[in-house]
């Protein structure tokens, strides 16, 4: 049995609460940025980056993907990357074609 294939122990409850508090803080920063009146490209990049941090925190800690067997990452990350690739191509194609829908 590959040691990486075995589920590792899950974290303590205090860590879950800490992660939740960080998530709440990041959500607050997102809202601040959306009202800050920054240039669009800075707003978009910042919001996408913060959203990615929240996404990874929930998947890693609350869904335990950080602690579970690595094999479990493959079907989810595979589906996620496939979705991002396909729809990025679709969005790009529509944007380039006649300047959008």
């Amino acid at each position: 049995m590959d040691a990486h294939q075995v589920d590792q122990a899950h974290p303590k409850e205090k860590l879950y609460v800490k992660v939740a508090l960080w998530l709440a803080l990041v959500t607050g920063i997102e809202i601040f940025i959306s009202y800050a009146g920054l240039p669009d490209w800075i707003t978009i990049l910042s919001l996408v980056a913060l959203s990615l941090i929240k996404f990874l925190a929930v998947v890693g800690y609350f869904m335990h993907l950080k602690f579970d067997a690595r094999l479990l990452r493959k079907p989810f990350v595979g589906g996620l990357l496939l979705a991002i690739t396909i729809y990025a191509i679709v969005l790009l194609a529509f944007t380039l074609h006649d300047g959008g829908v």
Partner: protein, 200 residues
Amino acid sequence: MATHAAEIHDTSTGIDNTKLAMWTFLGSECLLFGALISVYLLYRGTVQAGPGPGDVFDIPFTSVSSFVLLMSSLTMVLALAAIQRGDQHRTRIWLAATALLGMTFISGQVYEFTVFVREGFTVRSSSAGSAFFVLTSFHGAHVTLGIVMLLSLLGLSLQGKLPQERATAVEYVGLYWHFVDIVWVVLFTLVYLIPIPSPS
């Protein structure tokens, strides 16, 4: 760092097959929501008549809804931790809290939809309206299904049919619930917070 011992399952991979299937299902759900999000991003700037999404969104209200759903992920993971250590009382409290937070989120969505329709932003008012309501309704349907599953677990627990040995049932429902939460994390940013281009 451990609340329960590491597990090795009697399968060729050493992983619980149902858990692997659950993750595969969630991977496929990424494609479903990816399609709906893409359609919204393509059409959000196309408003033929009436108000557009940017005219009706109430960011502070939706932020509170987002916070509620985010906290439901915390109560869900606490329910799992409770059942894994055999604490039935706290399992029930956290499951009930998660279902309650989910219902609060859905109530907020129903209220939000009602306000949008009253202001003239409907599923038929524009392509942006169609894309928005289909996307957020699909997510709402997922949350509603999650609430049904949580209440079922709570019912089983109250009947004494959810012992510590069946903690995996809570884990599977938890995975689904957290997925619904991360979909909203993405939707909240892409749909509500990112600036909308001027209507074409």
